[in-house]
């Protein structure tokens, strides 16, 4: 997946300017930068979630398997199935644990019970949650802890077998132990997915990602291997941000 010369406007305000960035399979790409730098906006351009915002528009290209997802012929609903998203705050539906994970399958027309049950178990296993909830599948998902809810949201996203997983500060509402679990999960998941994660936590970016992109004022300032960015950044601005001198 890649973006070329992507601009994004909220009304007249340019939130992203000329962003060209490649995302690789089996790699975790972290997007870092101060608040309002456009990293979340970029993430939400990648599955066209920004379409929901009135008076906003995107220019430039976002390619998924070579196809521009902003092409008018693209089926946005189908696209979003291929690109899963995990949000900042855990947002399970007020339904049972089972129905949360099965939701994406059901809306895609799958109703066969045995298949659903298998797929739900598989997804919960992938999200390292099965052991904790296997006897609570019919309980409300809102009764789970915050960390469990977030892993449930990850399981829910994985259930529809997306190719790309977008994570918008997935740990910002979680305690350190839950955060650690999610980070371990990201490590395991990258063997099968393209993962793109927005984070405010620089240590987290350093821990979980292979590639890091630094954003400032809607522009991609520098992108490189995470090791390089955190040890030998090319630009002074990147170094200042990473070392905490501004941001």
């Amino acid at each position: 997946m890649k973006t070329t010369d992507l601009d994004f406007y909220y009304g007249d305000f340019p939130a992203l300017e000329g962003v060209s960035l490649d995302f690789y399979i089996n790699r975790v790409t972290a997007l870092i930068g101060p608040s309002g730098c456009g990293k979340s906006t970029l993430l939400r351009c990648l599955n066209r979630m920004n379409d929901l915002i009135p008076y906003s528009r995107a220019e430039g290209k976002v390619l998924l398997d070579g196809q521009d997802i902003y092409d008018p012929n693209v089926d946005v609903v189908g696209l979003r199935r291929r690109i899963g998203m995990v949000f900042q705050k855990p947002n399970p539906f007020p339904k049972t644990v089972f129905e949360n994970v099965a939701f994406g399958l059901r809306v895609n027309g799958i109703s066969k019970k045995t298949y659903l049950a298998n797929r739900v178990e598989e997804s919960l296993n992938l999200a390292a949650l099965w052991d904790e909830v296997s006897d609570r599948l019919d309980d409300s998902a809102l009764g789970l802890s915050g960390g469990q809810q977030q892993r449930l949201c990850i399981a829910r996203a994985l259930a529809v077998e997306p190719e790309v997983l977008l994570m918008d500060e997935p740990c910002s509402a979680l305690d350190p132990i839950a955060t650690q679990k999610i980070e371990e999960l990201i490590h395991q998941l990258k063997s099968s997915y393209t993962i793109i994660i927005v984070t405010h936590n620089m240590q987290q970016a350093a821990r979980v990602s292979d590639i890091t992109g630094f954003f400032y004022l809607g522009k991609l300032i520098e992108v490189d291997d995470t090791d390089t960015i955190f040890t030998r950044p090319k630009l002074q601005q990147t170094e200042d941000y990473i070392t905490g001198r501004f941001g």
Binding site: N47, M49, L52, P54, V77, G78, R80, R81, R82, G84, M85, F87, K89, N91, P92, F93, P94, K95, F103, G104, R106, V107, N108, S140, L142, C153, R156, A157, V160
Partner: protein, 319 residues
């Protein structure tokens, strides 16, 4: 503790108390702020008291009304009263046709208003783009809520009874009451839809659900308890109205129960109105009037209770 008290003190209080001994000084420094604390507490308490009284007035009003109706009407209530039609020029007998009529009308009104109202609310809250059209529609709905009920009665007479030829019937009455109930239901439904967090919508869309699937499977279920509240209010209002049905559905007296939606019917509020203003024995039927009113209010409260219990069940299931 003492330090923070000091910072709250005015400079003047400091200099006067500085003359006294250390122990005493401390006491003096705490005292004025105690007085202030007390003033604040008194103010706080009296404000609370006022609000509590305001809230209590509501409950008291309901209690007085119910007491009044029970005290004057309970003698009229018996098995015959509830299960027989009126006899002897409506000076004796029961009110069964009125009970049936009011149930038919309020259920009919909800059947008409709930789907249209919820659909309108979904359009307004989920689909419509903000702009002039939306503002005009909203203005219309708000004004609809302000239209006096007698005007709805005349509207129903002109449109449903005469123009569409439904005659004075359950159908005309239910449609008229439905139109009157619409703004209540739209308002409550919109409120309920707005209260559904956007994160639910985003999560659903992010999983490849269509907009309609998102609304139908996620937003509506989450909003259902609130929508039901609207329905409760709507039913209550529809059941108690007289003006909208007096030209469209209700009759003075009907010897038989309705057999189709095109039949005219008796209704509780209209029956009270008739007995109290146009009956043959207004004074002698007082207890029947109060009895009928008691039945009406119990019916409305009963309907509300059913809906409230159902709503609580739904909430528990969702929570």
């Amino acid at each position: 503790m003492n330090e923070s008290e000091t910072t709250l003190m005015e400079p003047g209080a400091m200099s006067s108390s500085a003359l006294k001994g250390a122990e005493k000084e401390q006491n003096d420094m705490i005292k004025p702020s105690h007085a202030r604390e007390r003033r604040r507490r008194v103010f706080q308490r009296s404000a609370f008291g006022l609000f509590r009284i305001a809230a209590a007035v509501n409950g008291t009003a309901l209690a007085i009304i119910i007491y009044f109706l029970v005290a004057r009407g309970w003698r009229a209530i018996n098995w015959t009263f509830l299960t027989q039609p009126p006899i002897d020029s409506m000076t004796k007998g029961g009110i069964l046709p009125c009970i049936i009529g009011t149930l038919c009308l309020s259920m009919g009104a909800i059947l008409v208003a709930l789907p249209i109202g919820v659909a309108s609310a979904i359009y307004l809250n989920e689909y419509a783009r903000p702009g002039r059209v939306l503002r005009v529609i909203r203005l219309g709905i708000n004004n609809l809520a302000g239209v006096p009920s007698i005007v709805f009665g005349l509207f129903g007479l002109a449109l449903f009874v005469v123009l569409l030829g439904f005659g004075v019937s359950i159908l005309s009455g239910a449609l008229t009451l439905g139109a009157m109930t619409l703004p209540v239901i739209i308002g409550a439904s919109e409120e309920a839809l707005r209260a559904v967090p956007d994160t639910y919508r985003e999560a659903s869309l992010g999983l490849g659900a269509t907009k309609w699937q998102t609304i139908y499977r996620v937003v509506l279920p989450a909003a259902l308890p609130g929508i039901l509240t609207g329905a409760i209010l709507g039913i209550g209002r529809a059941a108690g109205e007289t003006a909208p049905i007096m030209f469209t559905a209700a009759v003075f007296y009907s010897p038989s129960l309705p057999s189709s939606i095109f039949d005219e019917i008796m209704a509780l509020p209209y029956h009270i109105y008739v007995l109290a203003t146009a009956g043959t024995e207004i004074e002698a039927t007082r207890h029947l009037q109060y009895g009928t009113a008691l039945v009406l209010i119990v019916l409305v409260l009963g309907l509300n209770l059913v809906a409230i219990v159902y709503r609580a069940r739904l909430r528990r299931r969702l929570g």
